[in-house]
Symmetry: C2
Subunit: 343 residues, 2 copies
Amino acid sequence: MTSIKDVARDIEMSTATVSRALRGLRGVSDETRERVMESALRLGYVPSPSAAGLASGQTRTVAVIVPMVTRWFFAAVVQGAEEVLRERGYDLLLYNLAGDATARHRVFATSLLTKRVDAVLVLSLKPTAEELDRLGRLGRPVTIVGADMPGWATVRIDDRDAAATATAHLVSLGHRRVGYIGGATEGVLDFTAPTARLDGFRCTLEAAGIAPAPELEQDGEFTIAGGDRATRTLLALPDPPTAIFAASDEMAMGVLRAARELGVRVPQDLSVIGLDDHELADYFELTTVAQPVQEQGRVAAMQVLAALSDGDWQPTQVILPTHLVVRRTTAAPARQPSSRRRT
Amino acid sequence: MTSIKDVARDIEMSTATVSRALRGLRGVSDETRERVMESALRLGYVPSPSAAGLASGQTRTVAVIVPMVTRWFFAAVVQGAEEVLRERGYDLLLYNLAGDATARHRVFATSLLTKRVDAVLVLSLKPTAEELDRLGRLGRPVTIVGADMPGWATVRIDDRDAAATATAHLVSLGHRRVGYIGGATEGVLDFTAPTARLDGFRCTLEAAGIAPAPELEQDGEFTIAGGDRATRTLLALPDPPTAIFAASDEMAMGVLRAARELGVRVPQDLSVIGLDDHELADYFELTTVAQPVQEQGRVAAMQVLAALSDGDWQPTQVILPTHLVVRRTTAAPARQPSSRRRT
DNA sequence: GTGAAAGCGCTAACAA
DNA sequence: TTGTTAGCGCTTTCAC
C-alpha cells in the first residue's frame, strides 16, 4: 500500500510538502505541486482517512440518523444530503433506526459518534432531553431536519402553515364538514409535525367559523393502512365529512383506497387533500401541499458544512416554503349529501 | 477527550491490557476486565475509530453503493444490510450514485475506498469491466446484489425463473396474447435483470406453443410513467394483449393507471402481473412475483462479514427464492374480446 | 496475564 | 517555499 512517504521519496521532498500539495494548501510552488500530483497518480497513491483523521481530528464524515430509510421521504432527504456532502468531499455514515430502540440507544446514548464524525444530521426525530444533551456534548455541528427545536440548527417546513393551507383550500371550496387524519402527537418517531399540523387544521376551521368536531379528527399513524382505517371510521359517522385532509400523502392514499372500496367517488362525494407531494401523488392525482424534500437534506448538509468551516457559526432555523398543488381529488361539495354505500 | 491512556492510568495498568479488555480478547483476567469496563464507563471513554483503523488496518466500515436510495427497492436492501452490519458493530458508508456519472466515477475509478472500508456492497449495478477490475484490486470482500457476475460474490433472485413464473401464471389462466413490459437491456443502472426477465418471458411462451410477437414487448424503463406509456402502446395494437406482465411492480402500477384512464377493466378486460411485491402492491391488489428485498441486503452483508472473518472464504453465489402472490389483477381472459374504448 | 515499545500514515507547529 | 519534529490514539509484537 503506497503511502505519502513513497510519494515524498519519489520526488525527493518531505512528506509535509507532499501533504500540503495534495490538500491544495497554499505555500507550495506550482512546480512542486505538479510533481506531487504526477507522482501520486503514477504511484497510485490514495490517502488514508484513518491517518488523516487521527492527525487532524477531522474525519470528513457526517452521520445521518434516520428513522427508516424505506420511507420515501427519508430516503429523499438522505439523497439530498448525500449529494452536497459528496460534492464537498464528505462521506455519509447512515444510521437507520428502523423502530429499533436498541439501535436508537446505541446511536444516541453512547457517544460512539464523538470521534467518528465531524457533524450529525438528525432526520424527523425529536430527540429526548437526554439525547439532546448527548448531542450537545458531542461538540460538533448538529442539524435537525423536520422538527422544531429552539436553540438547535433546524431545517423544516412550517407544518402549521402547511396544514392551514390544505384546510383553507377545502374550506374555500365550500366544505364545512372536514375530516382530519393525523398521527399520534407522541409516537415512535416523535416528530413535532403531527401537533403542528393538527393545530393548523383546527385554527383554520375556527377562523372560518366552523365549530370543532372531535369525532372528525382521527389517527392514521402516518401509513396507508392507517389512512384507510381512519377513513372508514369517518365515513361511517352519522354525519360524515365531505372532505378529508390527511396530514401525509401516504395516509391520503389510504383515504383514496378506502373511498374506492366503499364506492365513494372522489372528488364528487369526497374531497381529499394530502401533505408532502409524494412521488406517487401525481399518479393518484392527489391534491396536496408540497414540501421540498431533497432540498431539506441539501440545506441541512450545507448547514453543518458551514458550521464546520466557520468558527463562530450560530445555529440557524431554516424554514422552507410549501405550496398548494391542486390536482383532481378536491372539488366543491355536492349540493345534496349524495347517497353513499357503506360496507 | 478521554483516551485509552486515561483509562490505563486510572486503573494503573498498561494501555495494551486496556485495549485487550475493551475488545473482549482472551488473555485478560476477569477481574482486570471488570475494572477496565468500570473505569471506561466512569470516565466516559469512547474509542477512536481513526486510531484503531490506523493501527489495525481495519475500519469496521462497509461501503454500500446504490444507484438511487429513493427507489423503494434499494432503500429496503440498504435497510437490510444496515441492520446486520450494525448488529456486528460495523458502520455503513452510503454512496448514492443517483444517475450521476461523476459520482460513479469517483466511487469506482479512484480507489478512494481502499483505505476507507473493509468491504463493499454494490447494489443492482453492473460494474463495467474496468470498474470490476478496480473492485478486485481493492483486495477487500465485495458482494454484488441483484446482478449475475460469475466469479464474484453475488446475492440475487433467479430473474429468469421469476419471469417464467409470472408468465406461466398468465398462460395457465388461458391467456395466449400476453404483453411484456421491461427495460432497456443496457441502461443507466445496467442490471442483468432485464435481459434475464425478458428471456424467462419468451421461453415460457414458447414452451406453451405461443408464437413470438415482438410488438408485444415494450420498454417501460422500470418506472411508473414508462409502464403507463408502454401500456398505451400495447392496448392501441390492432390485436391487443389480454394480459400484461410488467417486469417490475412500479411499471405494473403504470399499467394499472393507463388501464384505468383508458377505461379498460382489470382483470376483466386485462390481467396484470408484476414482479417485486413492492410495499404498495398490496394496496393496488396487484398480483406479482415476490422477491425478498431486505433479505437480499441482509444476506449480502452477512456474506462480506463472513469473508472478513474467514481467511480462506470463497465468493458465493446466493440465489434467493421468489414466489407467486396472487391478488386481484389477474383472471381468465374474457371469452369474447371485450369492446374497448381507447383515447 | 500483563507490559514496553514500536509503529500505523498522516498533519501541524515551528524552523529555516 | 520547504523541512524537521512531534505527536494523534490505538494495536501489536515480543518479552516477561
